[in-house]
């Protein structure tokens, strides 16, 4: 029981759906196998951001520009606003030490073509009047944008289905083997066996386990992020907000930025983004706790207290929910995108850590090109899974 396809995508999050959509657009017969329900993974527990300022100059930043353009065309292709919006973003700076680190970081980003600048205190407060007094400056980029993950995934699935794509929920892959002529047989816990010459491993934080099924190596570590969601409120300032400490927790641009013991243990950083439903997503933590997706009292308290200390007006705002997701993190902070040497037809597209929403469209398109045209652009070689094949697949922190 099961079907045969040109490509089977394992994982129905925003990355899997993007790969499936672009493959289907290029005429491939695609099936997506999602272990859980709709948006059960990190895609359903993230902060909606297409954020440039948090990307180290290099391939990630480069791809983020291309991804932004793809989102604009997806809005018309998928006939939906996708909650796509460009409110801009500001990274808040507390002291001279953080200012020095951010000035250097902004210079690098500008050299890669990002429209970003450092704002004086008064210009900063014009855009964000509710800020606590302790911030001395901020960055500002008008390019930081966002999309509403649930709309993007829903519309990718709907348009994909119109073009013939199949999406199966509640079908967890538990075995992967290859027959004589190189076709893959994908077994699911519900007993189905689907066949295809090409398999795309888009299983996010679980991509390492899927790779193990076929003897491939993808070192992937789940990094838990907790988020608090507020009630609907009028806009708090013009742009979305982060702190320099958030970049430290994500990119470690410079170790000089001082963080407290709790901030470093929880990987605490301030992220504040307005959602489609006029409420705010307030984050976040970065914790290595394996696959435990529960929220914790400590995490909620740290996130909420940090937010109120930065935007005192939030003290009177109700928070209505706390959620957690598992960001898929690779040892070198770059996604894994490409075919595995020695396993023709087995591709991996995962490991976007906090950049899944912003890089989903470009990941899907590049993956589809690799599968359909069999050629890999030079610039993408650094993303190949083979960079890890030498290492043993241990839990690399």
């Amino acid at each position: 029981m099961g079907g045969s396809y040109d490509v089977i995508v394992i994982g129905g999050g925003i990355i899997g759906l993007s790969c499936g959509y672009y493959l289907t657009k290029q005429g491939k017969r695609v099936a997506i196998l999602e272990a859980g329900g709709f948006a059960d993974g990190a895609s359903g527990a993230c902060d909606d951001m297409i954020l440039f300022q948090s990307k180290k100059p290099g391939i990630n930043l480069e791809l983020a520009f291309e991804s932004l353009e793809l989102y604009r065309s997806l809005v018309s292709e998928l006939e939906d606003s996708l909650g796509f919006a460009t409110y801009g973003g500001m990274v808040l700076i507390q002291n001279q030490q953080e200012l020095r680190v951010m000035e250097e970081f902004v210079r690098q980003q500008q050299s890669y073509g990002l429209d970003v600048e450092i704002l004086s205190r008064s210009d900063m407060r014009k855009r964000q009047p509710f800020l606590s007094e302790r911030f001395i400056a901020s960055t500002y980029s008008p390019m930081d944008s966002q999309a509403y993950p649930f709309s993007v995934m829903h519309r990718l699935a709907r348009k994909g289905r119109e073009l013939g794509m199949q999406v199966f929920h509640g079908s967890k892959v538990n075995a992967l083997d290859r027959d004589g002529n190189g076709d893959y047989a994908v077994h699911t816990t519900s007993g189905h066996v689907h066949q295809a010459p090409v398999v795309v491993n888009a299983a996010g934080a679980w991509a390492g386990h899927v790779a193990d099924l076929v003897g491939a190596t993808v070192p992937m570590e789940p990094r838990r992020g907790q988020l608090v969601i507020t009630e609907k409120v009028p806009a708090v300032g013009e742009t979305n907000l982060w702190t320099a400490k958030y970049l430290v927790s994500k990119l470690k641009p410079g170790t000089e930025i001082a963080v407290t013991e709790e901030e470093s243990r929880l990987g605490l950083g301030f992220a504040f983004t307005r959602t489609e439903g006029d409420s705010y997503l307030v984050g976040s933590t970065r914790e290595s706790v394996g696959y435990d997706k529960r929220t914790t009292m400590e995490g909620i308290r740290a996130i909420v207290n940090q937010a109120v200390s930065i935007l005192p007006v939030l003290g009177e705002v109700n928070f209505i929910r706390a959620i957690a997701g598992l960001r898929p993190a690779t040892p070198d902070g770059k996604m894994v995108l490409g075919e595995h040497a020695g396993l023709p037809g087995f591709f991996t597209a995962a490991g976007h850590e906090g950049d899944g929403i912003s890089l989903a469209p470009i990941t899907g398109r590049l993956l589809a090109q690799m599968v359909c045209e069999g050629v890999v652009q030079d610039r993408l070689k650094e993303l190949s899974p083979d960079r890890f094949s030498g290492t043993v697949n241990t839990e690399v922190s």
Binding site: G37, F38, A39, D40, G44, F150, H154, R158, V167, H169, T230, E231, K232, E276, G277, T295, I300, R301, V304, N305, A307, V308, L314, G315, E316, V317, N318, F319, I320, R321, A322, I323
Partner: protein, 100 residues
């Protein structure tokens, strides 16, 4: 004669103002769980976190798909189960003195 079926534009989710029609359309697309319907229509994402609508949505899913109500009813909930102002977490009143 008023046929109730054509009147589907009243709300099932009072907080997020999601109508019966919108919910049924998403179910017809193949999304058969409360979480799926919530994530696509926002029904249940509002201030009351689904208290007024989740049982009704489960009944609609069960009626439209034939799935037994038992398999559809909500069993996953998230903290906090009451909405609170963010300032309440500022200083934790953990000492006995503060709580007599």
């Amino acid at each position: 004669m008023m046929d109730v079926d054509d009147k589907k534009d009243f709300f099932i989710c009072r907080c997020e103002e999601v109508t019966l029609r919108e919910i049924e359309e998403v179910i017809d697309e193949g999304y058969h769980s409360i979480d799926d319907v919530k994530r696509i229509t926002r029904a249940g994402m509002g201030l009351c976190q689904g208290r007024s609508c989740s049982k009704v949505i489960a009944r609609i899913i069960s009626q439209k798909t034939g799935m037994p109500l038992e398999e559809v009813l909500q069993t996953s909930y998230r903290f906090p189960v009451r909405t609170e102002k963010m300032r309440v977490l500022e200083e934790e009143g953990d000492s006995d003195a503060q709580n007599r």
